[in-house]
């Protein structure tokens, strides 16, 4: 028999077995009688309405005003919390830097407070402080952007890999994983990389791939090719070319039996995917397969 079985019996929670066992015990009749008689017990009379009337007349009638204040107090507390939160978030949002970001296959143009212009390539992000712009012309960059800087105080571009400082000029910066390139199109650009300063006169590039400073090919244009919807490469490992392809078309690129360290020189269109795929695969002796958003490049001789 389970613990507290008498209580379980009274509330009808005994199992059938337990119940029949209990019914056989000699005490059962006494308990049954106790159950029956106790159910006829009654408590002294209590008049609910009269008690309520008494409560209202004698006790509550005297002090309703004190009570009425409570909900208002709580409302004030809530209101104060809201006010603090709103003020706090207003100042917080205000102190935040302005920031602009582009998605894959997207471009954006930004005009800074001093009329300097930034064109942001795909999958890139810049941020700057609009409030402190007059004191310090500083832009943080992840990804790639072309800068046309209005003449004025020193203008700096901070990236994870290096910092570029100029006075007034046009230049392109690309700072991505293992890839850092600065090309100066006009004026003079100073690049700080690993604590060394390099001066780039107009028409020169500074390229670092996987930490290695490469011989810089000279650009033969007045602005980066991507401004004109083309991506140009000069002796750049295929890996970074394919990364750019992914960014420009928002596609997923895979390779099979392809040496991604091969250097690629050429240009692909940023608007026509089929043309772009041909532009990359033909000089690299690769074939490709396009299925939806997925592209597979494979070596020509793969059986």
């Amino acid at each position: 028999m389970q613990e507290n079985y008498l209580a379980k019996w009274l509330s009808g929670e005994l199992s059938e077995e337990e119940l029949s066992e209990f019914k056989k015990s000699e005490a059962y009749a006494s308990y049954q009688k106790l159950k029956e008689v106790s159910s006829t017990l009654e408590a002294p009379d209590f008049d609910v309405d009269q008690a309520f009337q008494q409560l209202k007349d004698e006790r509550i009638g005297n002090a309703p005003k004190v009570v009425a204040l409570h909900p208002f107090k709580r409302f004030l507390r809530v209101a104060a919390a809201v006010a603090v939160l709103l003020t706090g978030s207003y100042f917080y949002v205000n102190s935040l830097d302005e920031s602009v970001a582009t998605q894959l296959a997207e471009r954006s143009e930004i005009v800074l407070p001093d009329q300097s212009e930034i064109i942001l390539n795909a999958d890139s992000r810049i941020s700057y402080s609009e409030k402190k712009w007059d004191e310090k012309r500083n832009v943080s960059l992840q990804g790639e952007a072309f800068f046309k800087v209005a003449k004025g105080k020193k203008f700096t571009v901070s990236t994870n890999q290096g910092t570029i400082a100029v006075l007034g000029t046009q230049f392109n910066v690309e700072a991505r994983d293992n890839f850092f390139e600065v090309t100066c199109y006009e004026g003079l650009v100073s690049v700080m990389f690993n604590g060394n300063e390099t001066k780039l006169p107009a028409g020169t590039s500074f390229v670092v791939i996987a930490g290695q400073l490469l011989e810089s090919p000279k650009p033969n244009s007045v602005q980066p090719s991507w401004i004109n919807n083309e991506s140009s490469f000069e002796r750049i490992p295929l890996e970074f070319v394919l990364d750019e392809l992914e960014r420009q078309f928002d596609i997923d690129v895979k390779t099979q039996n392809v040496d991604k360290n091969l250097l690629f020189t050429g240009t692909f269109s940023n608007t026509d995917l089929n043309m772009a795929l041909k532009s990359i695969s033909t000089p690299s002796r690769m074939n490709y397969q396009l299925e939806g958003d997925n592209v597979l490049f494979y070596a020509e001789k793969t059986p």
């Binding site: 613990e3 507290n4 079985y5 008498l6 209580a7 379980k8 009274l10 509330s11 005490a27 006494s30 308990y31 009688k33 106790l34 008689v37 106790s38 159910s39 006829t40 017990l41 009654e42 408590a43 002294p44 209590f46 609910v48 008690a51 309520f52 008494q54 409560l55 004698e58 006790r59 509550i60 002090a63 004190v66 009570v67 009425a68 409570h70 909900p71 107090k73 709580r74 409302f75 809530v78 809201v82 939160l85």
Partner: protein, 180 residues
């Protein structure tokens, strides 16, 4: 988003189902005052004190209506009523009425009626001899029809503890009555 949900629920409890709302308060009174009265009466056997406990508990509830949500009002009442006489008064004899036998059954033999009367007297005595907490549990269940879980909530103990009290109450009542 969650923050606003919380705000809304706070505002809602402040204004909508608030115990300060007279209708809500009066419903709570009508549903619980009789049981509060019985609860105190079973414990101390004093009707006057039980009446006072009802008044006292509901005044406290009204004074704190902004702080007590309706769902907690019930256990709040029992806590207040219970604390009121904690260690203050001595239990007196609990007197309960027995429902009058219905007419159909009144053609019993005089011996039988006599036995019934004796039995009830023994039961009354045995109930008064029970420890206060066992008597309260037993009577809340038998007279007010409260489930063990409800009694556990009123007394602020586990359901298991209530089952234990009930078991012991039944055992000693039976032993007293049968003279074991």
């Amino acid at each position: 988003m969650f923050f606003f949900k919380y705000l809304w629920s706070t505002v809602k409890t402040s204004y909508m189902d608030n115990v300060c709302e007279e209708q809500v308060f009066s419903n709570i009174f009508k549903a619980n005052s009789k049981t509060v009265f019985n609860y105190i009466y079973y414990k101390f056997g004093n009707e006057e004190k039980a009446h006072d406990a009802v008044q006292e508990a509901f005044v406290k509830l009204w004074e704190n209506c902004g702080k007590v949500v309706p769902e907690k009002a019930k256990s709040y009442l029992y806590t207040v009523a219970n604390n009121l006489y904690l260690n203050v008064i001595k239990a007196e004899k609990v007197r309960l009425k027995h429902a009058a036998p219905t007419l159909e059954h009144s053609n019993e033999s005089p011996e039988f009626l006599m036995e019934e009367k004796e039995y009830k007297a023994k039961l009354d005595q045995a109930l008064n001899d029970l420890p206060e907490n066992q008597r309260t549990t037993f009577l809340l269940n038998r007279i007010d029809g409260k489930k063990y879980a409800e009694i556990a909530e009123m007394e602020g103990v586990s359901v298991k503890a209530i089952e234990k009290r009930m078991h012991l109450a039944l055992k000693s009542l039976r032993e007293q009555i049968d003279g074991i």
